[in-house]
């Protein structure tokens, strides 16, 4: 059985419980053990523009904790995954930075070695587990569910540091959805921004981005909207009604985490997948709330 240290980040364990619940249900069924480690801290990404040294130190510290246990890290939040990956990329190629950061980690008796891999939700589901294995566990295929896939930005950009899918034509979520019976379709706004990163300084503009995308998806007759990022999900799910107001639309789009849809197709009870916590109208596609 493959083992990974689960790096939860901040958004998932403090408000996006449904993501964590569905991950803890679905991933072990696919033959992957998730290990919880103590003392993980912030990934550092939100302060990168102010203090990159701090970001590198925080990320390296988290990686070092996993390396002490000889574990690779599974970071379901794409933003955390980006921070950890970028840090690894810098420290593995820059000896001076490697020494500086390790000097800072000494107080905690930690060492960044560069031995652990950083795994995203897509790496895990598509590349490590694989669609074959997912297909075998499907009990209730999501028949004819027309799904709009949202990849978000951190999972696929910036491509030069190595991300989980193609930055302009990502397909892995679409392929997984097809295996569980759903019908992911192309829409022109597929790669549009969710607006989450504008929520601190330009909240109105952020919500407009959210609203524009959902409005267009709704107009194109999609049954559901799926994402894998807790930041995106917060925009599309919890803030959906407000986002609709900014674009003068009544939005009623069921929004799911990818792991929730996979769990549903596996026949996992809805309450275990945290579906009751989704604030968008998931009942529209038969989810009991």
């Amino acid at each position: 059985m493959e083992k990974f240290a689960l790096y939860p980040g901040c958004v998932m364990p403090t408000e996006q419980y449904a993501y964590e619940m569905s991950i803890r249900e679905v991933i072990p069924k696919l033959g992957v053990e998730l290990i919880d480690l103590k003392n993980f801290s912030c990934c550092g990404e939100p302060i990168k523009s102010v203090n990159q040294m701090m970001t590198l130190t925080l990320s390296a510290r988290n990686i070092a904790i996993a390396e002490k246990q000889n574990l690779d890290i599974f970071a379901p939040c794409p933003m955390c995954h980006l921070a950890l990956t970028e840090t690894k990329k810098i420290l593995d190629s820059d000896e001076i930075m490697f020494d500086r950061i390790n000097n800072l980690l000494k107080d905690e008796d930690l060492t960044y070695k560069g031995s652990s891999k950083i795994i995203s939700i897509l790496d895990l589901l598509y590349d490590i587990v694989g669609t074959e294995k997912i297909k075998k566990l499907v009990k209730k295929p999501l028949k004819d569910l027309k799904v709009a896939v949202h990849y978000g930005c951190h999972l696929i950009r910036p491509s030069e540091i190595g991300r989980s899918d193609d930055s302009e034509n990502p397909q892995k979520i679409d392929k997984i959805l097809k295996e569980i019976g759903a019908n992911p379709e192309y829409y022109p706004e597929k790669l549009d921004c969710c607006g989450a990163l504008l929520s601190t300084n330009l909240p109105e503009s952020g919500l407009t981005k959210t609203g524009q995308k959902l409005k267009s998806v709704q107009e194109q007759g999609f049954d559901a909207f799926v994402d894998t990022c807790p930041w995106c999900h917060r925009q599309y799910d919890a803030k959906q009604v407000k986002a609709g107001e900014t674009v003068a639309a009544k939005l009623e789009m069921p929004v799911f985490y990818l792991t929730q849809l996979i769990g549903m197709s596996f026949g996992i009870p809805e309450e275990k997948l945290g579906l009751k916590l989704n604030q968008s109208p998931v009942e529209k596609i038969g989810v009991e709330k």
Binding site: S159, D166, E168, N169, Y186, P188, E189, L191
Partner: protein, 661 residues
């Protein structure tokens, strides 16, 4: 006997002297064994420098000369001439490279001077062991091979043929004409491309000195400058070239007429299985596409092949086979042109996602009156006239993820097409162009650009992040950096102006011809400024876009230049061979033949010889073929092979000399 050696240190302006203490170096040289004179001068390669060297040679009765200067690739030939003028064998010269390998590479003057001393000391050690070499001569075959029948190949062939030289022009496709034949008008004069090209094509077809070999490919090249043996495969056309009169009745008759995407029309139009790529093709003969023809793929074509019925002279021959032919030439010009980058790789521009996103070369076929729409501008999705057309420049060009270089023709070709679209669609058509910079650098180009800007057109400076297929139309978000505003363009037809890239099979040809490619994949010139038509292989030249993107006028100049360079070789009856080649010591050779398998030029053979009553098998170097690469020398286990300019004892002396550093 001890040789008398002179050392000459060049300042190279300040290129060397700012990092290396040339006075100190000159004094140091005087202390070395056998050095009888040491001098320095600002520019050794100048007339005064040459005079200084020559006078020192004569005055001091020098046997060998060391010049501490730039790389031997720059001036070794120049200095050999200088040494010869002082009545010393030109190969008794050793260059100590203290510029590229010392002053340019370092900044610490003290250490650089120390290194320069080591380089000079080592060169002096070799100079002591240099041996005079004599150039030998070979006969030159006065024929040329030109590969590629686009405008570059056409121009080069005509230039050489006019000089009275025999030219073989090999073209891969069924007709010559190349990319220029696909264009409608040329910028900035708006000449009809076909009208100015066709007379040249006919000249090629009719010239007594040109043997045209279309639908043919290169198989192998052996030999070296002055004497190449080339094998060429003439692919089966399944049409007898002698019997065919070019009436084209077969083309009209073909059962598959109008069903196979035409390569010439960039797949915007269709052809049959037997076809002529375009009406002005040279030679004007039918060609059967063996991958589509029903007779050739299934052995059956309805009740009988219609082309055979239609052909009065009986020229169709389904049994025809590929033929190989061997020719002998003295020089080769490569003019294989370019490909247009397939924009599908840039998914964000929706080229594979919408029929109404086309490339500028595809647009060229739409504009052309002999093209698939007979010159009408119709959008591919619904065959309606577009009310708005948007050009995207630099698609894949000047882009670190695709092609870093500028395509040099994109801006002007788009401006030209915009002019033609206004003519064809009327002034009310909305024309947008998203550009990075407009590069209108040629004669008359800037004026043409100004003219288009003055017309009713919209210029946006920026690169759109995406072209969206919104069903009926396409949408583009463009941030215009001249106004700092974001614009949303709704448009009917998007024309991508893609990067120019090397031909898809340029690597294969490079392998056959033993050519180097630069990092972008285009063929590498011997010197970017001073030898732009030469390759690093003597006797092989490059013309046109196979060397890098060019417009038509630059291509024609380049091609004429290449022809002129080739004729320098071809107009000599005999030519000198560099004596710095490999030599075999028969006494040491064990006859193991390892060198034969290693030699990239097939210059070594195994021979049997009677020596002191015994038959001995040993390697023998063909002086005309050996390029002096040294591969055999390093492979030889018995030390029997030596390079005349770099003998083991010379190299070991150089290493020993720097042992103290």
């Amino acid at each position: 006997m001890n040789k008398k050696i002179g050392v000459f240190v060049c300042h190279c302006g300040i290129n060397i002297s700012s990092t290396v203490d040339v006075e100190q170096l000159t004094e140091f040289a005087k202390t070395l064994d056998n050095v009888v004179v040491s001098k320095n001068y600002k520019y050794m390669c100048s007339d005064n420098g040459a005079k200084l060297i020559k006078e020192s040679i004569v005055k001091n009765k020098l046997d060998s000369v060391v010049i501490a200067c730039c790389s031997p690739r720059m001036h070794e030939q120049t200095f050999r001439g200088v040494v010869e003028s002082g009545k010393v064998n030109p190969f008794n010269l050793e260059i100590a490279n203290i510029r590229e390998q010392c002053s340019w590479a370092h900044s610490d003057k003290e250490l650089a001077t120390k290194k320069a001393k080591a380089i000079v000391k080592s060169a002096v050690a070799k100079a002591h062991l240099l041996e005079p070499l004599v150039k030998s001569k070979i006969k030159v075959t006065p024929n040329a091979l030109v590969i590629g029948g686009g405008i570059a190949g056409i121009q080069a062939s005509l230039d050489l043929a006019e000089k009275g030289l025999k030219v073989y022009l090999v073209e891969k496709s069924p007709s010559i004409g190349g990319r220029m034949a696909q264009l409608d008008k040329t910028f900035p004069t708006l000449d009809c491309s076909g009208c100015i090209l066709t007379p040249k094509m006919m000249d090629v077809g009719n010239h007594p000195n040109i043997e045209l070999m279309t639908y043919s490919e290169l198989v192998s090249v052996d030999g070296s400058v002055g004497n190449y043996t080339v094998r060429i495969r003439e692919k089966a056309r399944f049409v007898d070239m002698v019997k065919c009169t070019g009436c084209l009745a077969c083309v009209d008759a073909c059962r598959l007429k109008g069903r196979i995407p035409s390569e010439f029309d960039m797949k915007m139009g269709k052809r049959g299985a037997i076809y002529v790529p375009f009406p002005q093709a040279i030679p004007l003969k039918g060609t059967i596409d063996s991958e589509s023809c029903l007779m050739l793929t299934r052995g059956k074509c309805g009740t009988g092949p219609l082309c055979v019925e239609a052909c009065e002279p009986g020229a169709i021959d389904f049994k025809q086979k590929d033929k190989e032919k061997e020719i002998k030439v003295g020089a080769i010009i490569i003019a294989t042109g370019y490909d247009v980058l397939d924009p599908s790789s840039m998914y964000e521009y929706s080229y594979s996602n919408s029929k109404d996103v086309i490339t500028s070369l595809e647009m060229e076929r739409l504009i052309n009156s002999s093209g698939p729409t007979v010159g009408e501008i119709l959008r591919p999705s619904d065959s309606k006239k577009p009310k708005s057309v948007t050009y995207l420049l630099c698609v894949g060009s000047r882009d670190e993820t695709e092609c870093t270089w500028c395509c040099r023709i994109g801006c002007m070709s788009a401006l030209k097409q915009m002019y033609l679209l206004k003519e064809k669609l009327g002034d009310e058509v909305e024309l947008n162009i998203c550009y990075t910079d407009i590069r209108s650098f040629g004669k008359g180009y800037e004026e043409f650009y100004r003219n288009i800007r003055g017309m009713n057109t919209n210029f946006f400076r920026g690169r759109p992040s995406e072209v969206r297929n919104a069903g009926e139309h396409l949408t583009i978000d463009i941030f215009d950096t001249t106004t700092n505003k974001l614009f949303e363009i709704n448009t009917d037809l998007v024309v991508l102006v893609p990067a120019l890239v090397p031909r898809y099979d340029s690597g294969e040809l490079a392998h056959i011809m033993r050519l180097s490619q630069s990092s972008d994949g285009f063929y590498l010139e011997a010197h970017p400024k001073l030898r732009p038509m030469d390759t690093l292989t003597n006797g092989i030249f490059i013309a046109g876009c196979c060397q890098g993107p060019k417009d038509i006028q630059d291509t024609v100049s380049h091609a004429s230049g290449a022809a002129s360079r080739a004729s320098v070789i071809l107009s000599q009856e005999e030519m000198d061979i560099d004596p710095q080649i490999a030599i075999v010591d028969v006494d040491l050779c064990s006859g193991c033949k390892v060198c034969i398998s290693i030699c990239p030029y097939n210059a070594i053979e195994s021979v049997e010889e009677e020596i002191d009553g015994k038959i001995v098998t040993h390697a023998q170097v063909n002086e005309a073929l050996c390029m002096g690469c040294g591969s055999c020398v390093s492979a030889c286990t018995s030390g029997a092979l030596q390079h005349k300019g770099f003998k083991d004892k010379q190299i070991l002396a150089m290493i020993a000399a720097v042992g103290d550093y």
